[in-house]
């Protein structure tokens, strides 16, 4: 199986001070794998995730995602790569002036799908995340758990190659957390999507085989 993500001697620095967060990291993730990245607060988990979707450029080494070397990627290529990613944030990052439906179909809108396809997909996805009657509501009318499910629906909208999730269940109740883990497991299992989740704690009820990386003292290590 081919590598979807490959890091070699990767060093990431952060902020104006240029503080090293990750140093000389080497790892590879294959298509269809489910990966947890854990580590103490401030260890660089979210920084690594930002680097994976090109928000942060590696200061040394290589980081190849979907065949694109992010250290030297042109903005247009990076933009294209992001259209094949589904990104889930701890603070949801929904557009509050848009309806739930419009938020969900954002990746389809960017890809230029017509409104009919967008409507059908929105209906299917919202049913999938157990929010079928919330299409015309606005994010601020929903609870945190519901907003995060909208975020997951958006991430799944275009059947992405990779899902990157930053603490997706950090602030959520058990019900919403379980729904979200189910959705990500399904995406990985049924669509062969690579899922990479940054979290403090691996959920206790998790049925899929997974890989576990830990970030500690600037290094990225796999736990066997």
């Amino acid at each position: 199986m081919s590598n979807v993500i490959h890091a070699s001697h990767l060093t990431l620095t952060y902020g104006k001070t240029g503080k090293e967060v990750i140093k000389d990291a080497n790892f590879s993730i294959k298509k269809g794998e489910f990966v947890f990245i854990t580590g103490p607060s401030g260890s660089g988990k979210s920084t690594l995730l930002k680097a994976l979707y090109g928000k942060l450029t590696p200061s040394q080494g290589n980081l190849v995602v979907g065949g694109l070397d992010l250290a030297n990627a042109r903005p247009r290529k990076l933009q294209e790569l992001r259209t094949h990613m589904g990104i889930i944030f701890q603070d949801y990052k929904l557009v509050n002036e848009w309806t739930v439906k419009k938020n969900v179909v954002l990746p389809l809108m960017i890809a230029g799908y017509d409104t009919e396809v967008q409507d059908t997909q929105a209906h299917r996805l919202l049913k999938h995340v157990k929010l079928p009657d919330h299409a015309d509501k606005y994010p601020l009318e929903l609870s945190g758990g519901e907003q995060q499910r909208v975020g997951v629906a958006r991430a799944l909208a275009k059947n992405p190659v990779v899902i990157l999730a930053d603490e997706p269940t950090g602030n959520l109740d058990d019900y919403s957390s379980n729904v979200i883990w189910d959705l990500m497991e399904n995406a990985c299992q049924q669509l062969d999507t690579t899922v990479l989740v940054v979290t403090h704690k691996i959920p206790t009820i998790f049925s899929l085989p997974y890989r576990h990386f830990i970030i500690e003292s600037k290094g990225v290590y796999e736990v066997h």
Binding site: R82, I87, L106, R154
Partner: protein, 271 residues
């Protein structure tokens, strides 16, 4: 209400800039025509020993554009009333030649002095009268009005620019979140900034229409009945159709600059 307020906050400063531009255009046209009137109404008197052609005057100074000979017979007729024909012939023979010289532009008094000096350098020229004092007061008044209006226009433009910058900050605040989320999901810049461009272009068109309408009103209704000479005489130059193009072009340029600034400044913010 908030919707109208948001639009007005961009339309009003944009209108102020467009008014400044239109005032400038109208002012330039009006002053050009006024300047032309002053220039055409002005001539200097030159007295020569022998007759002189316009080309000869022009070799002495390039600002001289016309030359009109004052008929000596009229002068003799006025001064030699009651004198015999032979007497008046003698006066005519002894009289020098008189010319009114027109200039190609409205010059500063130092320019007039230069012309006077150039002409007096020719041995054939006996006397040059520039009527400098009345010319000088006209010129100073004209320059003063021109300066005041230009200062006013610049001041208005600067204040409006600050208001537009303020509005850009509001735009950034209002649109940043959406543009950043769209950027994360790979939206191209035109799609990210599409809403902002639409809003700004609509405002630009509104501002152009409002300013044009105002000047149409001034030209066709107000100026005609104002009783102000300069307005009535220059009614034709108050607003021209081409001005609408200039105003629309200017407002679109301002919009493109403002929107791109907002889009680029929203890009680097960390999420």
């Amino acid at each position: 209400m908030k919707f109208i307020k948001n639009h007005l906050m961009f339309i009003l400063p944009l209108m102020a800039i467009l008014l400044g531009i239109e005032f400038y255009l109208v002012f330039e046209r009006t002053t050009n025509s006024y300047e032309k009137g002053l220039k055409e109404g002005y001539s200097m008197l030159v007295v020569t020993h022998k007759p002189m052609e316009l080309s000869k005057f022009q070799t002495l100074n390039e600002h001289i554009s016309t030359s009109e000979t004052i008929k000596r017979e009229y002068i003799v007729f006025e001064v030699a009333k009651g004198i015999s024909k032979s007497g008046s012939d003698e006066i005519l023979a002894a009289l020098p030649y008189f010319y009114n010289l027109g200039l190609d532009s409205y010059l500063h008094t130092s320019g007039l002095e230069k012309i006077k000096k150039d002409l007096e350098a020719d041995a054939n020229i006996k006397k040059v009268e520039t009527f400098g004092s009345s010319y000088n007061s006209n010129y100073k008044l004209f320059s003063f009005i021109k300066l005041i209006l230009k200062v006013f226009i610049v001041f208005m433009a600067v204040v409006s620019l600050f208001l537009i910058i303020k509005q850009m900050e509001i735009w950034k605040y209002a649109h940043k979140e959406r543009m950043q989320v769209m950027e994360i999901f790979g939206a191209p810049m035109m799609l990210r900034s599409g809403v902002l461009f639409r809003v700004a272009f609509v405002d630009a068109i509104f501002a152009t229409i409002l300013v044009s309408a105002l000047f149409f009103y001034i030209k066709f209704y107000w100026a005609a009945g104002s009783g102000i000479d300069i307005m009535m005489q220059n009614q034709e130059v108050l607003f021209e159709l081409s001005d609408m193009g200039i105003l629309l072009g200017s407002s679109v340029l301002i919009v493109v600059f403002a929107v791109y600034t907002v889009v680029f400044s929203s890009k680097g913010v960390q999420e």
